[in-house]
């Protein structure tokens, strides 16, 4: 693993693509995202099949709170924008600005997870656990898997902040920051479908 920046001829490339080896790892990370598409596709299929299997109470039309779901959506969309700016500053080698936008992304992501956890705990206190019905099993599995991904992304960003503070911006840390941004945007896309199909779609039933 080379930590140094390559020769002048490659300086025109973005930081995260400066090394060929790191560029290949970015392609590899895209392939991981493709497998994650398949995981979420499976869970969406599950939800589509079981959303109507409510076993009495509750049903999707009354169960979901659209206000918190809209707040979560706006938080995640904003965090997608801030991580985009972080990568833009990373490519300009402006580590301070990049770190600031990454911290903003983290705070937004943590707020998202906090709202989701609060919603889930409220449901559980009302007796609506995933044991209740096939609908709730599918709902908690789909939305919970996404929430777990976001939580993992926050831990990933925290370790990256530590690495950048200790090593500075190198071809390796640049690649890791870039793949984190891909992961984060991808989770935003998955959430948009959860918001549309599960939360808004639940009102249409």
């Amino acid at each position: 693993m080379s930590q140094a920046w390559p020769e002048m001829e490659e300086q025109t490339l973005p930081a995260e693509f400066a090394h060929e080896e790191e560029s290949i790892k970015i392609t590899g990370f895209w392939m991981f995202l493709v497998t994650d598409v398949l995981i979420f596709a499976s869970l969406f299929s599950l939800y589509a099949v079981y959303a109507g299997r409510m076993g009495g109470e509750p049903n999707p039309a009354t169960f979901f709170h659209l206000g918190p779901a809209l707040a979560e959506t706006l938080l995640l969309l904003t965090s997608s924008f801030t991580v985009g700016l972080a990568i833009w500053f990373m490519r300009r080698r402006q580590v301070g600005a990049m770190t600031a936008w990454l911290v903003a992304t983290l705070v937004l992501g943590a707020t998202f997870v906090a709202i989701e956890a609060r919603e889930f705990l409220g449901d559980i206190q009302s007796g609506y656990t995933w044991h209740q019905s096939a609908f709730l099993s599918a709902f908690f599995t789909l939305v919970g898997t996404h929430g777990a991904h976001v939580t993992f992304g926050i831990l990933m960003a925290l370790t990256l902040l530590i690495q950048v503070a200790r090593r500075g911006l190198t071809p390796v840390t640049a690649r890791k920051l870039y793949t984190f941004s891909l992961y984060w945007h991808f989770l935003d896309v998955v959430w948009i479908f959860i918001y549309s199909v599960v939360y808004l779609g639940g009102r249409l039933g």
Binding site: L13, P14, F17, E20, S23, I26, T27, W30, M31, L33, V34, T35, V37, L38, F40, A41, S42, F44, S45, L46, A48, V49, G52, L66, L70, T73, L74, L77, T78, S80, F81, V83, G84, L85, W88, R91, R92, S181, L182, H185, F186, D188, V189, I192, F193, Y195, S196, V197, L200, G201, R203, L204, G205
Partner: protein, 118 residues
């Protein structure tokens, strides 16, 4: 039409060229993309809250908005085409989406046959 022949190392293949977006000026495209994503979200929220159309039409409408939103994220924020060589991620993602749409679509389709089950 050009005669078919095996490409050699000297030949110029645009497909194998590095592709990166120029990002020298302030990224207004990201600001526009962010504003666009907010508009798409709020339109979907409003359409459902106001019962703008029939439930089936609304579902199709908000799914369309979600697809637009996904395309926006991939195009504006994820630098989808960027690569030092061929953009393999587009081929992989295409295959992944093909399977995803097939899986979800066929699951919904088979549940429409209510005669034997439910």
């Amino acid at each position: 039409m050009s005669v078919h022949r095996a490409p050699d190392a000297e030949e110029h293949l645009p497909y194998l060229e590095a592709h990166f977006e120029s990002e020298t000026r302030f990224p207004w495209i990201k600001v526009v993309g962010y504003a666009g994503s907010l508009v798409l979200t709020l339109v979907a929220f409003w359409a459902v809250s106001a019962h703008w159309m029939s439930p089936t039409a609304l579902l199709a409408f908000i799914l369309g908005l979600a697809v637009a939103q996904a395309a926006l994220q991939l195009g504006v924020f994820m630098h989808l085409r960027e690569s030092r060589g061929p953009s393999w991620q587009i081929a992989g993602l295409g295959l992944g989406l093909f399977i995803a749409v097939g899986l979800v679509g066929m699951s919904i389709w088979i549940m429409l046959f209510k005669s034997g089950v439910s």
